[in-house]
Symmetry: C2
Subunit: 345 residues, 2 copies
């Protein structure tokens, strides 16, 4: 299974809107199809979107039939714009497009630019894979001997380009020979746990048991869970973690039952300009997601619903943060800074 792949001059991506019932791959032959696929949520997850955007630029460039660099560049401009506009809030798309733009300006001849753009997209893809594997390795060091891991939402292969952050740690641990089991919360309202995490783990023959979010505390108290590991959307300088709604509850319940709570995320998630989680605004999504379930209306029409997309887990509930550069623990202020400033070998 590959979230996204470059195959014979085309972008091949797994259509995540068809999961878990169908595994359908789309071959995209022009950048407009990629823009549509992003808008329609056929691919999601910040790291995966960055890679998709880079391939989209390469695909758009390949189709431009111009000999002069000027004419070529003037036709590449709208490609950049359309890709950035496909999901305006996704920082990784913007970041990848900027990186591609710099490569384009560094080359003189058109065929050289086309080749360089494809190479850069492949490099961004390989870099994401490498980061996940390094997170996995550091996480596996941490987890040794742990029998059952609880996770929330999908910080897996489907959110990245194929290995995962939190689920990358699970995969790396299993690759070292531990028979690790996973208990996954369904993650209402959008059900990333049922639809994506359960699907990708089952597909890799990893032992996974699905529970509703309301059951997490029960199993943590029962002593069935050896540690919790989740991803992150953003990490503040003090170690406060913004992640999918429900993460905070699990962190409190883990601490109450003396179960370690780990966060696995790339260095790019750490935002040292933010001193604490209180500065992170919480996105409020449509009440419709709460009032219906898998497309079926389950509550009276006139009822109000709240739908914060994520919550903040204060650093005091976080046992460790696993990155590609190593593991941070309290005091996070110092340890996260050291990891961010670490020069890549």
């Amino acid at each position: 299974m590959n979230t996204i792949e470059w195959v014979d001059g085309k972008i091949r991506l797994l259509d995540q809107t068809r999961l878990p019932l169908e595994e359908v791959y789309l071959d995209l032959t022009d950048y407009q199809s990629l823009v549509r696929a992003i808008k329609e949520m056929r691919i999601r997850g910040a790291p995966a979107l960055g890679v998709a955007a880079a391939y989209g630029v390469a695909l758009g460039a390949a189709a431009i039939d111009e000999e002069s660099k000027e004419a070529f560049e003037s036709r590449l401009g709208p490609v950049y714009e359309a890709i950035v506009a496909s999901r305006p809030t996704a920082v990784n798309i913007r970041w990848a497009v900027e990186r591609m733009r710099r490569v384009a300006s560094a080359h003189r001849d058109v065929s050289g630019v086309k080749k360089a753009l494809l190479n850069e997209a492949l490099a961004i893809h390989r870099q994401d894979e490498a980061i996940n594997h390094r997170i996995g390795a550091h996480g596996a060091d941490l987890l040794q001997g742990k029998g059952t891991v609880m996770t929330h939402c999908n910080a897996g292969a489907l959110a990245t380009t194929g290995y995962g952050t939190a689920l990358g740690v699970v995969r790396a641990t299993i690759e070292r020979g531990t028979a690790l089991k996973v208990m996954a919360t369904e993650t209402r309202p959008f059900l990333q746990g049922s639809r994506l995490t359960a699907w990708e783990l089952a597909r890799d023959q990893i032992d996974v048991t699905l529970i509703t979010d309301s059951m997490a505390g029960h199993f943590l108290k029962k002593g069935d869970i050896d540690c919790v590991i989740v991803g992150a959307d953003r990490i503040a300088a003090n170690g406060d973690v913004a992640n999918k709604i429900g993460t905070y509850s699990i962190a409190v319940l883990a601490k109450e039952n003396a179960v370690p709570f780990y966060v696995a995320a790339p260095i790019s998630t750490i935002d040292l300009s933010i001193s604490s989680g209180e500065e992170i605004p919480i996105e409020e999504r449509s009440p419709e997601e709460v009032l219906s379930f898998a497309g079926v209306q389950v509550a009276p029409q006139e009822v109000k619903a709240a739908n914060p997309a994520f919550d903040i887990t204060p650093y005091r509930y976080v046992s460790a943060i696993v990155t590609e550069n190593g593991i941070a623990r309290e005091p996070y202020l110092e340890e996260l800074k050291a990891l961010v400033e670490m020069i890549e070998e």
Copy 2:
């Protein structure tokens, strides 16, 4: 809205399987229809089932066309049996049928028995209503001045005969003039919060906001919730509470954020023969409820799911237990015993 009512010689009940999208009342003219309605979950909730069973016996008796007491009683036997068998684990059905059976044997002539059985069923109904109102009054004393209450599952009018235990406290508080608001968890996997609690509160014009179970911690931390109030399936002598899965998580999150956590339940829920919650077996229900909803599959077919129907909240997370005889606090062992032994005025 009435969960169940005796109207012109018939049982009228609200079909809970049609909620929240349709409010449909069924008029049952024979006891066989009642047995079917119970089996099909058209009525649920322990106190409501006890009342339904009593009316069922009255209905069955009324249809028996015999003059002699012996012939009458021999035809009433199968009625008792069919009603008890409609939901074999429901203690309240058995209790109500036994109470009806005692009434039947205390009368000589058939028409006297028929009249006495109906009167007993009406008395059981009125008694349930009275208990709920007394719980409501004690709870309202406790809640004075509280702005927003969080609740879980449905401990409302729909689980009883019309006022509710936890939601009875909400109603009593509002009747005293407080503009109380309710935040209700949807209560996966069976969605009693979305389908029943949101529906009955909206219908009574009580301000209700629905959230997913995963959001409870976020709102407790945010300071939006003044207290939590839930029902109970069973309460041990030490104050440990068995209730719908997810209750324990909310209790821990409430304590962590210094929000009082109250349980409202009739005295009949307190089981002094059980010393702690650890002795209460946890019913495991079908994984299908977790893997799908309303016929829509949301997880891959081959994935395992756990589905414990309830959890145990240790007494140390419970701020107070509200019953029709008054309020118990720590030490629960003494205070619950005193409430149970209290003679009704």
